[in-house]
Symmetry: C2
Subunit: 335 residues, 2 copies
C-alpha cells in the first residue's frame, strides 16, 4: 500500500540551514472529507521565504516549528474529489505543503489548464512568483517608460520576471546577480539591458554606475543587506523601492548591523514599501491573465531548475539559499 | 551709518556644532536692483535642517561652506522697493538668510497680512513648519480617523503641529519627546492624547506600548536613529512612515551603524517615504489657507521660543540642536 512521504522540519535551523534540519517521514495517505479533494503532488515550489518561516522570528501563526510538514505551494493531480467543482485528473495548484499526497478544500485550489502553458508554470511565471513580480513592480513601483528598473537576485524566480516585465513596460532592466553565468543568462537569454556579478565587483558603486548610468528609479529588492545599502546611494529623486525579500538576512541569528541611510531617502524624496503578494489577491486573476498573454507572445521567458524526488527537497532548498539555481527551483515529486 | 550684521559659517562643524563654528560679521547694506526689494529682517527661523546643510554631505548646491552667510527663512519689512508688487512697510517672508538687511527678487517673497495672525507665525504655523506638518502628514501618510499617529521630536516646530493636525483628523496623537516638561506641554496645552519622555524610559517598547496600545499606524519621523529602530517594531500592518528629518544623525561624522529591520517593513507591508516640503509647492497656498482657518478656530496652538538679537543666533541654533526649545525657535532681529 502506498505511503505519503513528507518533509518535516527536524530542527529550527541555526544560521545557514543544513539538510539535517529536515527529515523525510512516512505517513498514511490522508482521507478527503466532504468539500475536500485528495491530490497527488506533481511539483513542489522551493522558495526563499521558507527560511524566514523557520527563523522563529515571525508571528507564531506563520512560524514553522519542528515536526511540522514544510509549508509551500505545489501543483498536483486530483485523485479523489468530494466537491462538485473538482474531478479526478484535474490539475490544481495550492498550498499543499511538502508531501506526496495532500487533502485540501476545493475552494482553496486553483484549477490549471495544461493547454495554456506547461504545468510547472503554475508555480512560476503563472503562479506566485509571476504575481509577485507583476504587482510588486507595476502596482507598488509604477515604473514609467525610460526609467531604470534594478532588481537584486535577478536570476531567481521573481527577479527574472521583474526584469522582463520592466522591458515590456519600456524601462531599462538591470540585474544584480551572483555569477557570470547568471549575468549571461539575464542579458543573453532574458533580454535584460545589463547585469553584473556583485561577487566579482571590486567597487560596487562603480559597477552600479556602469550598468545604471542614469541612476536607479525603481529598485526591486529581494536580498537586503550590503547590496541594498549600496543601491540606496544610487537612487534617483522620487525613486521607488519595493521590499520583496531580504534573503541576505534570513540566516542571521540576530539583526545584522548596517550603516544608517534614512537621510538618503529624504534627500532623494524616495519611497520604500514592504510588500506581500497576498495584498493583491483580489486581482490575481487579472494578473495571471496578463502574464499568460505575455508568455504566449514570448515576451516572458523562463527557466525551470528541477530537482527530482521529494527525498531531495531538503537538498534543493539548501542549494537555493546558496544561490545555485537559475530561474525557478522546483522539486518533481511524481510524473 | 547703519551696517548689515550677518552670521556666517566660520568652520564646517565637526560633531556637535559649537558657537565658535559661526561668526558675526559686518557688511555694507546691499543695494536693491530693478525687480528687487531691500528688506530689514524682523525674525529669523532657526531650523534643524541647517545642520545637514553644513555637514559637507549634501550635493554641493545645498551645502554651506565656510564664509557663507547662513541660509534660512526670515520675515522682514520692506524698506525700499524696485518692483510694483511691493511697497515700503510691507511685511514679507522668504529665504533672506541670517542677516539684518537683505535684498530679494519680489517674486521670491510672500507678502504677509499681519491682520490674519502675528507676524512670526509666517515662520511657523503659517510657514514652512506648518506646511511640512500639513503635507507630510496628510498627503504622504493619509491618516484615517481612529488611527494612531506617532511623531518624534514632538515638541518641536513641526512635531507640535503634526500632533494637532492628527487630532483635527480624529486620530490618536502621540508624541515622543525629550523632557517631562515637554510631555506636559504636549498633553496639557496642545491636546496630544499621550506622550512620553524617551530619556526617562527604561524600556522603550513598554513605554511605546503604553502610549500606543493599538500600535502605530502613522509615524512622522523627525529624528531617526535608535528611536526610529524601536518604533519600527511597533508598526501596524500597512503602516506609513514619513521621513521628515533625522536629527539624531546630523552630527555623525560617518554613517552610524544600526540594526537592520527592512524585514519588518515586509512583514507589516509598511511604507516609508522621504519627504521635502517643496515637492508640494504648487499647493502651498491651499495649505496656508487651511492652516490659517485652524489657527483662527483655535484648533492649532503654538508656542514661540524667541531669542533676542542676531548676535545670539549661533547660541540659539546650538541650543536648538541640544533640544532646549519648546515649539518654534526664532531669533528676533528688529522690532
Amino acid at each position: 500500500m502506498p505511503v505519503n512521504r513528507q518533509v518535516t522540519l527536524a530542527d529550527q535551523p541555526v544560521g545557514i540551514p543544513k539538510e539535517s534540519d529536515f527529515r523525510v517521514v512516512e505517513s498514511p495517505i490522508p482521507n478527503a472529507k466532504a468539500g475536500e479533494v485528495l491530490i497527488r503532488t506533481l511539483y513542489l515550489s522551493v522558495d526563499p521565504y521558507l527560511r524566514a518561516r523557520s527563523s522563529g522570528r515571525l508571528p507564531s501563526a506563520q512560524n514553522l516549528t519542528p515536526g511540522e510538514v514544510l509549508a509551500g505551494g505545489a501543483v498536483g493531480q486530483v485523485i479523489e474529489s468530494h466537491d462538485p467543482r473538482m474531478a479526478p485528473n484535474d490539475i490544481v495548484e495550492g498550498m499543499l505543503d511538502w508531501q506526496e499526497y495532500a487533502t485540501a478544500h476545493a475552494k482553496t485550489l486553483r484549477k490549471i489548464d495544461p493547454q495554456v502553458a506547461p504545468i510547472p508554470t503554475a508555480l512560476y511565471a503563472l503562479g506566485m512568483p509571476g504575481l509577485t513580480a507583476y504587482f510588486g513592480l507595476l502596482d507598488v513601483c509604477r515604473p514609467q517608460p525610460g526609467e531604470t528598473v534594478l532588481v537584486s537576485a535577478a536570476a531567481g524566480a521573481v527577479g527574472s520576471l521583474v526584469g522582463q516585465i520592466a522591458k515590456i513596460k519600456r524601462c531599462r532592466a538591470v540585474g544584480i546577480t551572483g555569477s557570470d553565468q547568471k549575468v549571461r543568462y539575464l542579458t543573453q537569454e532574458l533580454g535584460f539591458d545589463a547585469a553584473f556579478n556583485y561577487h566579482e565587483s571590486a567597487d560596487f558603486q562603480a559597477s552600479l554606475k556602469q550598468v545604471c548610468p542614469n541612476g536607479v528609479d525603481v529598485y526591486f529588492d529581494n536580498v537586503g543587506g550590503g547590496v541594498t545599502d549600496e543601491v540606496i546611494r544610487s537612487l534617483n529623486t522620487r525613486a521607488r523601492v519595493v521590499l520583496c525579500g531580504q534573503t541576505s538576512q534570513y540566516n542571521a541569528e540576530r539583526p545584522e548591523m548596517g550603516p544608517r541611510w534614512l537621510d538618503q531617502l529624504i534627500i532623494k524624496q524616495a519611497r520604500m514599501e514592504g510588500f506581500l503578494v497576498n495584498q493583491f489577491s483580489a486581482r490575481f486573476d487579472d494578473g495571471l491573465r496578463q502574464l499568460a498573454i505575455w508568455l504566449q507572445q514570448d515576451k516572458i521567458r523562463y527557466h525551470e531548475d528541477i530537482v527530482e524526488g521529494i527525498e531531495n527537497a531538503p537538498r534543493a532548498y539548501v542549494g537555493l539559499l546558496a544561490g545555485e539555481n537559475i530561474g525557478k527551483r522546483l522539486v518533481k515529486v511524481a510524473a
